[in-house]
Structure formats: structure tokens, C-alpha cells
């Protein structure tokens, strides 16, 4: 993980600041940095999104492909996650350096999305036991500025919102063999319902208090963090503790409450921006990567 080295007095300054609810950049303990969200940035994907949270830059692409359903769930499609830590973010990720972090993040995403109610997988089924849609979600880390998982989960939700899966019809022949027909109209597609897709909120424990959306410097001062995934209704779908420090059970309860509260506002803000972008449609000037 990209990290910065800080001197002891610097760390002390940050810890005391958090105690008084005034972080280095003037934010309170529950404030997020200003985020920029844009969808449909990669043209050859079914859906894509780019999220910039301070110095953290994430690009997510979703590709819908046809595959066979899993044996234990024959009438559902599924999601596959792959996280690539680009060497652009930090030289430590060159070659195979970013693999460890990438697999860790991918496993966290699998866990968060393992909840049955998050994505309606039955809508991805075409023919039970034979054909289904597989959504390959690829995450690319362009820049590491702290709080990676929150930004990744926001980008994944935005990309899934933007995903357009072509409508297919199953035709049955006289012999009984099934043929799949793709509709001719490129705009004839199904959209996913992302109302229950959870977002990850990382709460880092610094001193006696916890902060949301930690920067790299704040992450260097925190010994333990709690990752919780919250849906828009405030329901917790998964929880994970990271870091080498220990957490008091009472503080875990407090952090969970804060996480639920912050998670709900996060979903409201994200949905607002996604709806606004949808409403602007083609009249919005695309910024992409060269803006």
C-alpha cells in the first residue's frame, strides 16, 4: 500500500487535531473530500465510471459477457472483480508489486457483493443452467491518495448504474436447440437496479476518535480501521477490521453507527449526481482524461 513516512511531531499534530475535530485540511471527522464522479468514460465497455476523491483516482469498467451459470446457482448470473494497481499510482506497484494489494481489494469486493440482495442476479439469467450474463468488473487504480476502498466502491456503484446490457431473445428450434438473438437496436438494453448496491465506508481510528475518508498522512497515524459496507437504506452488509492495532468493542459500535450515518449520506449524494448526469444526457460536455 502506498504510504508516507511522517515524523513523530507531525503524527502528534494530526492526532491532537482529530481529537478537536479539526483535521489538517479543515475537515471535521465525518467529512469527505470533494469528489468528482463521471460515468461512460471508456467507450468499449458496457459501463464505466471514474471517481476522483482528493488525490485518489479510480477507473472502473464493466463488461457484460455471456457465460454459463455456476453449478450451485443455475438461474443467476454473477459478478467477477479484478483490481489492477497501475504503476502510475506509485513506483512500488511496478511489475508484480501491486498484485498483493489488488487481490486484497478484489477479495473485499467479493465479500461486500456476496450479499444476495445487493445486485439482482436473477435478472442476469438468460437460460437457466445454460446461459447467463457475467459482469466482469475491472478496477484500475490510477492514483493513491488515501481511502482507496471508499472511492472504489463509489466507482463500482456508478459503473453498474451506467452499465447497459443488450437485450437478448432465446429462440427455440424444431430440434430443441436454443439460439440466442441479439436485438438490432443498440439502445435496446436492460439497466441494472443499483438501489441496494452497498458502498464501503472506511473508518480509521486515530487516537481516541475515528475519522472518515483518511488521507495518506492520516492513514499513517491510524493503527486500526474498520471497513463497513452500507446500503442506501442504512443496512450493514459486511464488516472487516484492518490494521495491526486493536479496537475496543464499544468503539466498534460507535464506528458502526457513524458508518451507517455517513453511508446513507454518501448514497444520497452519489444518487443525486448520477441522476443529474443522466438528466443532462448528451448535452453534458464529456471531460474524460484530457479535460
Amino acid at each position: 500500500m502506498a504510504s508516507v513516512v511522517l515524523s513523530e511531531p507531525e503524527k502528534l499534530y494530526i492526532v491532537h487535531g482529530v481529537q478537536e475535530d479539526l483535521r489538517v485540511d479543515g475537515r471535521g471527522c465525518e467529512d469527505y473530500r470533494c469528489a468528482e464522479v463521471e460515468t461512460d468514460v471508456v467507450s468499449n465497455t458496457s459501463g464505466s465510471a471514474r471517481v476522483k476523491l482528493g488525490h485518489t483516482d479510480i477507473l472502473v469498467g464493466v463488461k457484460a459477457e455471456m457465460g454459463t451459470p455456476k453449478l450451485e446457482k443455475p438461474d443467476e448470473g454473477y459478478l467477477e472483480f479484478f483490481v489492477d494497481c497501475s504503476a502510475n499510482a506509485t513506483p512500488e506497484f511496478e511489475g508484480r508489486g501491486g498484485e498483493e494489494l489488488g487481490t486484497e481489494i478484489a477479495n473485499t469486493l467479493y465479500r461486500v457483493f456476496s450479499c444476495e440482495s445487493s445486485v439482482d442476479l436473477k435478472s442476469l439469467c438468460i437460460n437457466p443452467r445454460e446461459h447467463c450474463w457475467v459482469l466482469y468488473v475491472d478496477v484500475l487504480l490510477l492514483e493513491c491518495g488515501g481511502n482507496l476502498l471508499d472511492a472504489i466502491s463509489i466507482a463500482v456503484k456508478a459503473a453498474l448504474f451506467n452499465t447497459r446490457i443488450p437485450k437478448v431473445r432465446v429462440l427455440e428450434d424444431e430440434e430443441g436447440s436454443k439460439e440466442i438473438e441479439l436485438s438490432d437496436d443498440p439502445y435496446d438494453c436492460i439497466r441494472l437496479n443499483v438501489d441496494d448496491v452497498p458502498c464501503i465506508v472506511t473508518l480509521s481510528k486515530i487516537g481516541y476518535r475515528h475519522v472518515v475518508d483518511a488521507t495518506l498522512q492520516e492513514e499513517a497515524c491510524s493503527l486500526a480501521s474498520l471497513l463497513i459496507s452500507v446500503t442506501s437504506k442504512g443496512a450493514l452488509t459486511s464488516m472487516k477490521k484492518v490494521g495491526k492495532g486493536s479496537l475496543d468493542p464499544e468503539s466498534i459500535f460507535e464506528m458502526m453507527e457513524t458508518g451507517k450515518r455517513v453511508g446513507k449520506s454518501l448514497h444520497v449524494a452519489l444518487q443525486k449526481i448520477l441522476d443529474e448526469e443522466e438528466r443532462l444526457g448528451t448535452s453534458r460536455q464529456k471531460v474524460g482524461f484530457l479535460g
Partner: protein
């Protein structure tokens, strides 16, 4: 109450050339032809190909009589004797420390160039060498002056004055070295209630103004008491103002930082980092600086 703002990205506005700049700056990109006149000598940032002088970096062309060179706008710090730098210790070696100063090679701080506590002047012994880690460890921040530059470009630092030494509590902001204006002094005690060190290497250190000048300390003792909230607010505001100035590509010096601070007072500290607020306060700062000149 959590405050989360999300926005759609806005394409960056092309900033037109400002009227205050005296004379046209000849900006070039790598590969641009500077001149086809063969009478010029090539300096840094240029090369000759097919009798044309071509730029190899992106920056402004500078001409001194017959010497043409290109000064890059975004570059690593190139040390010059007498510069003040703020650096972070990366290694503790046998008789020296390696300090990271945002240059191509790590800078060197020799044990003999460091002040001993109490200001005593004596030859450094083996005990001093073993006690090096007590003075400076990996991760510590120091302010120092450039003593000399080696032939490979590495910089040798010294802290032979009581105003240099280990830095205590405060905030570090990293900017591009070309944005720090060269001035007579780089240590400023701003009237708003905090002090700032503008390192020539682009490391800006903002810290609470110490109450009394401790003469014997020489920069070794660090004050570990919690900084009061009022000072913290000033420091956070200054940090955000500096980030705003860098974002809008304005030169950093004590007056510009102070004007930006005053322009930002009507806004909340965390709002300064919003793009529209940044533009507004930097525009006001630019205006005041122009009025000051004109």
C-alpha cells in the same frame, strides 16, 4: 453532521496570458524548434539536430547573450548554494544522514555540518557517530541550507545556525520547486498567527509561532504539547490557501500567501478546496498583487 459533496468534472479553463507579465515569454514543449540561427550556444534543456536548436524539456526559453537554455516549469529541485531547504531524513549512515529534498538524488547532511546541542565547537568523535540516531531518525523533518553541490548534482546541506535544525509540530505541503519565489528570507512569521518556511525545494512547512526564541536549543528539543485550536485553524487555513495558490499556478511568497489568507476569511476552511472558491480567492489575490505593483 456529515458533509459529502459530489460533483461532475468540469473541463479546465485555459488561462489567458495575464497583462502583468513584462514581455512575452517564449514557451516551448519538447521537440519545438527554438531557433535555426547557428550562432547560439546550447545550454540546459536544449539539443542540436540538423542545425536547429530544439528544446528537450517543457518550459520557458532564457537567453543570456549567446547562451540559450530552457528552464523547465515542472522539474525536480536543482540545488544552488545558499538555498534554504526543508527535507525528510531517509537514511542514517556512518557519518552522515541522507535527506530527501525532492531532487534527483538524495541530499547529504554530514555529521560535521550539524550543530551540536549547546552550540559547542569540537571535532566529532566516535561517540557522536554512535549517537547520530538520537539527533535525527528516519522520517524526521529538518530545515537546512545548501552548503555545496557535488558534481553529480547531489546537494550537501548544513544546519550550522540556530535557526535551522529539526522541525517540530506542523504541516508539510509539497509543491513544485518552480513555484517558490526566491527572496531574501524564507522564514516568515505571518501576522495571522502562524509561521511558515518556504523551502526552495518546494517543501513548505507551516507551524505555530513559538512563544519565545529559545537560544540554547538550536533546534533539537521539540515541543510536544498540543497546539491550541485557534492556531490549528490558522495553520489549516494557510495550508488550504497554499494548495489553492499552487492549483492556480501563482508564485508563492509571503505577500501572496498573506493576501490569499485574507481573501479566504469569509469562507469556511474546508470550503477553500472547492474549485469555484479556489478560483475566486486566487483571483482576488492576483488583483491585490497587481494593485501593489502598479
Amino acid at each position: 453532521m456529515a458533509a459529502i459533496t459530489m460533483r461532475l468534472p468540469v473541463p479546465r479553463k485555459v488561462v489567458g496570458p495575464s497583462a502583468s507579465r513584462g514581455g512575452e515569454k517564449h514557451l516551448v514543449a519538447p521537440g519545438d524548434t527554438i531557433t535555426t540561427d547557428t550562432g547560439y550556444m546550447r545550454g540546459h534543456g536544449t539539443y542540436v539536430e540538423e542545425e536547429k536548436l530544439i528544446a528537450s524539456v517543457a518550459g520557458a526559453v532564457e537567453r543570456v547573450n549567446k547562451l540559450v537554455c530552457v528552464r523547465a516549469l515542472k522539474t525536480r529541485y536543482n540545488g544552488e548554494v545558499g538555498d534554504i531547504v526543508v527535507g525528510r531524513v531517509t537514511e542514517v549512515q556512518q557519518k552522515r544522514w541522507k535527506v530527501e529534498t525532492n531532487s534527483r538524488l538524495d541530499s547529504v547532511l554530514l555529521l560535521s555540518s550539524m550543530n551540536l546541542p549547546g552550540g559547542e565547537l569540537r571535532r566529532r568523535s566516535a561517540e557522536d557517530e554512535l549517537a547520530m540516531r538520537d539527533y535525527l531518525q528516519e522520517g524526521d523533518l529538518i530545515s537546512a541550507e545548501v552548503q555545496s553541490v557535488f558534481s553529480d548534482g547531489a546537494v550537501s546541506l548544513h544546519t550550522r545556525s540556530l535557526k535551522y535544525g529539526k522541525l517540530g509540530q506542523g504541516v508539510l505541503v509539497r509543491v513544485s520547486p518552480s513555484l517558490v519565489k526566491r527572496q531574501k528570507t524564507h522564514f516568515h512569521d505571518l501576522p495571522c498567527g502562524a509561521s511558515v518556511i518556504l523551502g526552495n525545494n518546494g517543501f513548505i512547512w507551516i507551524y505555530p509561532t513559538p512563544e519565545q526564541k529559545d537560544e540554547e536549543a538550536g533546534g533539537f528539543t521539540t515541543n510536544l504539547e498540543p497546539v491550541p485550536l485557534a492556531d490549528r485553524e490558522v495553520i489549516s487555513r494557510l495550508r488550504n490557501c497554499i494548495v489553492a495558490l499552487v492549483n492556480q499556478q501563482l508564485m508563492l511568497f509571503d505577500t501572496s500567501i498573506l493576501y490569499c489568507y485574507e481573501a479566504s476569511l469569509p469562507h469556511q476552511i474546508k470550503d477553500i478546496l472547492k474549485p469555484e472558491v479556489m478560483e475566486e480567492i486566487v483571483l482576488e489575490t492576483r488583483q491585490r498583487l497587481l494593485d501593489l505593483e502598479g
